[in-house]
């Protein structure tokens, strides 16, 4: 299996507090890897390290064969932050077209991304006037627009209705089938089952890195939420 992201002994500290404690893992290419864990466990920090905007104390992050944050990578990754980072005083279409222009792509590419997230009817609306879920989708469109090889999505499905959520997950898998690597964070366990692979983190430490089926088997729990609890319990005993 080809590796897309390789993280080796990554330590991130904020002030004196360590956010990630020497985390190591590899993320395969062309799959949807879920990053699961409670709020404050270090998911966003890990994603920021992968896209190269996080100051790290030690350790290395290699993305698609290059050090994270290096210049050639910036053409190849799409990043969606947790809070929808789009311009509220632009329309959905204007936002997508701006991000397309930064990747040197023409306007139709941007419009395709807007359609892909189901916002074509709201394309002319100012993002500031949209609902939270729509705003999230506008932000997702801007991450999709550069046809990236790696998509890093921080809680992309928050506030979406269930139908749309299923749609988006289908789209993620379609992208993965084309060879795109996706790293998707969530704190909703029912989404974990939709991932090809799972990274479970808690308090800045990796407690599981496997396929959902293997995690279920290892913990003898059908429910991933229960499996997660079981892993925490074993960790506490160890």
């Amino acid at each position: 299996m080809e590796t897309a992201i390789e993280i080796d002994d990554l330590v991130v500290a904020r002030g004196r507090k360590h956010v990630l404690h020497g985390l190591s893992c590899t993320i395969p290419r062309g799959q949807v890897t879920g990053l699961l864990g409670p709020s404050g466990s270090g998911k966003t920090t890990l994603m920021r390290a992968v896209v190269g905007v996080q100051l790290v104390r030690s350790g290395t992050v290699t993305v698609l064969g290059e050090p994270a944050g290096s210049k050639p990578l910036r053409r190849r990754i799409g990043y969606m932050t947790q809070a929808p980072s789009v311009y509220a005083d632009l329309t959905v279409r204007e936002n997508a077209r701006y991000f397309a222009a930064l990747h040197g792509l023409p306007k139709p590419e941007a419009d395709k991304a807007v359609t892909a997230v189901g916002l074509e009817d709201a394309a002319h609306q100012l993002v500031g006037s949209l609902s939270g879920g729509q705003r999230n989708r506008a932000s997702l469109a801007c991450a999709l627009v550069g046809r990236p090889d790696l998509l890093v999505l921080d809680e992309p499905t928050v506030g979406l209705d269930p139908v749309l959520r299923v749609d988006l997950w289908a789209r993620f898998h379609a992208l993965a089938a084309e060879g795109v690597t996706l790293l998707v964070s969530s704190h909703v366990m029912d989404e974990a089952g939709r991932c090809d692979r799972l990274l479970l983190i808690r308090e800045g430490r990796l407690i599981a890195d496997d396929t959902p089926a293997a995690i279920r088997a290892a913990t003898r729990q059908d429910d991933l939420e229960q499996a997660f609890l079981e892993l925490i319990r074993t960790e506490a005993h160890a």
């Binding site: 190269g52 947790q82 980072s85 005083d89 632009l90 204007e94 930064l102 040197g104």
Partner: protein
Amino acid sequence: MIIATALRILRQLRHDRRTVALLVVVPTALLALLYFMYDGQPRAFDRVALTMLGIFPFVVMFLVTSIAMLRERTSGTLERLLTTPLGRLDLLFGYGIAFGLAATVQAAVATAAAYLLMGLETAGNTALVVLIAVADAVLGVALGLFCSAFARTEFQAVQFMPVVVAPQLLLCGLFVERDAMAGWLGAVSDVMPMSYAVEALQEVGAHPDPTGTMWRDLAVVCVASLLALMLAAATLRRRTA
């Protein structure tokens, strides 16, 4: 990418009609106020109004830019932009161009109103007045971009106005002639870029042809803007904690 960024910023501005209206109307309205204050003293009005034509764009663009850049930071769009092929200087020059254009419109309207409606008289060319005003506005943009790096909230950003703008305003020669200041104040005034913008405007007011001093002053303002943009780029870190 610079052009795409400048266009994006102008589009944002266009959607905010009230800001556009304020940008265009406020300097002219304040000039009108001066016009009525100096009723019957046309020479005094000429001197103050000319100086003001340089000061308004600087102050307004400083404020607008520092808030706009702060919004990029707090909304997460800056973080996202830094993961795209966009370079840091592309972003900063994009702001310089976009707000520079906005300042050109603002300065043109205010200057036209001052000359045509309020009878402002200068020995030199009107176009030079607009040119100097725009250079001063770009300086405001550059300093605003730089200062926004030190503000975490809007409250802090607004406080930078008295810190950065007020001393320049007080020492630029509007209230007390620069030659008449105490030596050390004169020295402080000499390192403040706005002093040069004001001096350049006074040169246009007094001489029919552009003088060497005026060109030198204009060059100082432009170099100061570039310097501030470089400093802004240096303080704009791709990786943050």
